[in-house]
């Protein structure tokens, strides 16, 4: 019985166990990241400068928040297309209405919470497919945003925001510290709490989960709320990073977050996803954008790389799941 329980790291890496497979995927992502960093560093020594690396990490932070939420949604067989719209709407509404940082944060996260709850309600209690539900809220939010701003977002960005998004404490970017705290919290939620087990079991087989007494509706609801709140948080960080409040803040983040989640090992068929994996994938995506710029390639090239990477990831995971 001891033998069943004790597994060293190397042993685990070789087994066909669920944990072993996940570990191999993480290793693969790490190797890929090191590889592209290494190649770029050889071509352009400027890449590995502390400034540039810190730039990559700070840029990656807003997408990182969104990806964590998106990953949870994908684990329960969903998709959240509304995240980008939430980012912009939360930022525009909260900053337009307030000057104090506390009320801006509360209002922004409140917007994320409410939209996430609407998504969750539609999916869990009304049986709307996640794609349609979040597409609809995305469009509605866009309308509300433009009606509110009449095309020109107002309000001024408090200085503290700039610091939160671009500043550092003892050399470590503040946004990264906050992302790390959120990531650990999500990791704990997914891997160590009862709720996290239920999320993963539901993603594996919703019918079995229901028959095992898992509160299936509540689970979907909460996951969409988390995704909404994290997207709102990401919106604030992105606005702080860019320095201006824009109606199109976060444009492209919906599909980027789905891409990062899939590259990071979350399966659109549900039940699979890891915090470390999707964060690594986020870093890979953001690095690639940076590399394109550093190497002086045309910006359009970014899109080609991104698409190719998704296909590559899908092919790798598919061939592994057939084993």
């Amino acid at each position: 019985m001891k033998a069943l329980l004790n597994n060293s790291f190397l042993d685990l890496l070789r087994t066909q166990t669920v944990a072993g497979r996940q570990l191999r995927e993480l290793l693969l992502l790490t190797v890929f990241l090191v590889l592209i960093w290494g190649v770029t560093a050889l071509l352009s020594p400027r890449f590995l400068s502390l400034d540039n690396l810190s730039d990559i990490l700070v840029q990656a932070a807003p997408l990182g928040f969104v990806v964590l939420g998106q990953m949870l949604v994908i684990v329960v067989r969903g998709l959240d297309l509304s995240v980008a719209s939430i980012m912009a709407t939360a930022a525009v509404l909260s900053i337009g209405a307030n000057d104090s940082i506390v009320s801006i944060v509360i209002l922004a996260l409140g917007v994320g919470f409410v939209v996430g709850a609407v998504n969750g309600y539609l999916v869990a209690y009304r049986g709307v497919t996640p794609f349609l539900a979040t597409l609809a809220t995305m469009i509605v939010l866009q309308g509300i945003r433009f009606a509110y701003t009449k095309g020109a977002p107002g309000g001024s960005l408090p200085e503290t925001f700039r610091w939160l998004a671009t500043g550092d404490i003892a050399g470590i970017p503040v946004s990264l510290i906050i992302l790390a705290v959120v990531a650990v919290a999500i990791y704990w939620l997914l891997m160590r709490s009862k709720f996290g087990y239920q999320i993963r079991l539901f993603g594996d087989n919703p019918q079995s989960a229901y028959m095992s007494g898992v509160p299936v509706r509540k689970i979907q609801m909460i996951v969409f709320v988390i995704s909404g709140v994290l997207a709102a948080l990401a919106g604030l960080f992105l606005v702080g990073y860019v320095g201006i409040v824009d109606n199109w803040t976060g444009q492209g983040y919906a599909l980027d977050s789905i891409a990062a989640a899939v590259i990071g090992g979350a399966s659109l068929r549900g039940g699979k996803g890891s915090v470390a994996g999707v964060l690594l994938a986020t870093l890979i995506l953001v690095s690639l954008f940076n590399i394109v710029v550093i190497l002086g390639l045309s910006v359009e090239f970014q899109l080609v790389i991104k698409g190719t990477l998704i296909i590559l990831a899908a092919a790798v995971y598919l061939s592994k799941s057939r084993d």
Partner: protein
Amino acid sequence: MSKAILAARKLSKSFGTNQVLSDIEFEVHPGAAVALCGENGAGKSTLIKLMTGLYQPSSGHIEFCSEKVNWRTPSEGIDAGVAVVHQEFSTMSALSVAENIFIEALPRTRWGLIDRKKLRVQTVNLLDSLEIQLDPDQIVAQLSVAQSQMVEIAKALRTSAKVLILDEPSAVLSQLETQHLFKIINALRLKGLAIVYVSHRLDEIFEICTDIAVIKDGVVTSAGPIADYDQQKIIAAMVGRELGDMFPPKASIERLSEVVLELQQLRNNSFDQAVDLSLYRGEILGIAGLVGSGRTELAQSIYGARAATGRVLLEGRELGKRTPSKCLSAGIAMLTEGRKTDGLFAQSSVAHNYISSTISKGASDFNIATDLAAQRSATVVAQFNVVVDDLGLPISHLSGGNQQKILLGRLLENQPKVLILDEPTRGVDVGAKAEIYRHLRALANSGLAILVISSELIEIVGLCDRVCVMRDGAIAAQLQADEISEDNIMSVAAADDSEQQPLDIEVQCVNVKSISSTQAPI
């Protein structure tokens, strides 16, 4: 006598070490209808799959038109002239009747588009020749089950078939629809088609079949013209075997005094009939009946997984709005019929499957140690003798028997008072079956009340202390002690109608109240 059109000669089939069919001799002649009878798992469907080219024989061969054939795929069998209508329909509900029938050979115009006019003419001609009345343009989704089946038959007979195999065609049909089906089958037979008819309903066999072959445990135990048979003789050929020491000794009826679960006028959304039933502490109650008789629906409606009206009382207290989650915490646990569809978490580890209904047992909801699941399941692996290399493996790596033991162990983690087991040994090998039976009896002896639904009569007879036989959503008879026999169960389950018992086997309906000292059901 004419020559056989389709025949099996010394046909054997084994999967690994498991011999499913041995030395089968079977033939069907033009203009004859042969009934293929046998219990679930006897080997009927394997024989059909061999005769249609879906499986290849391990030894022996198939003869078609007196020639030895070696079909490698079902399409070769179909091309030769063997048409099959399976129990599960393959119709596409969004297409029309005509499109469904000719889906594999849609007539084309010279532009490559579907030739609607020609399609309609072909369909009308085919349906007329089969004497089936259907509108070729109607969408299949709008048809009744019986009409969909007619579409299946027409589709099967689109090419000039010489043999038509029907696998339990009446299981899903009402009385009237069945009569209509029989008319069509008879007409086809009189035109010279050879029919193979698989059914559990013995009365039907006498109505439309000319010959019969009975399979039991992979061997043809009896065959001949239907005129030589009566229902008794068929049942005897189908069942009648030693129970051996597969099953542990039963509980004595006198011990049953304390009602644990009581159903009062429970009526689910699939049947009109209400069910009253009491389940006693320490007993194993079997629910027998044919496929579609409402057994699973009854279990689901107790467990809150299916909408139902009526009352369910657990230890005298009524359970309000039931859901699986509430039933589990109240003390009712259920093992589902479809292990893959709503039992297992196929990609998750053995350990996570084991704890899925009691995730944080022995820990806080927000701090579950990473190896807690493995530690907890290691205990049950030892107790149930589960064969597994590593508890972290996906449960899909385990054999059916080992999977079932893990799922059974998972239910016990909830410390239930009532266990509902729907087909507990489906897809489980004989060795694991005996182990599961032993565990179930031990659980009953320790005070659990167990409800077992099974299509395997031998299991019902060998394992259960009392048996309810279901038909059309209602409990048609309750049997106990010596009355529990395969003959008695079959004669009730396959009977036409509760008013007229076609058999002279005496079936005593036991009133539950007579052995109960506690409150009687209303």
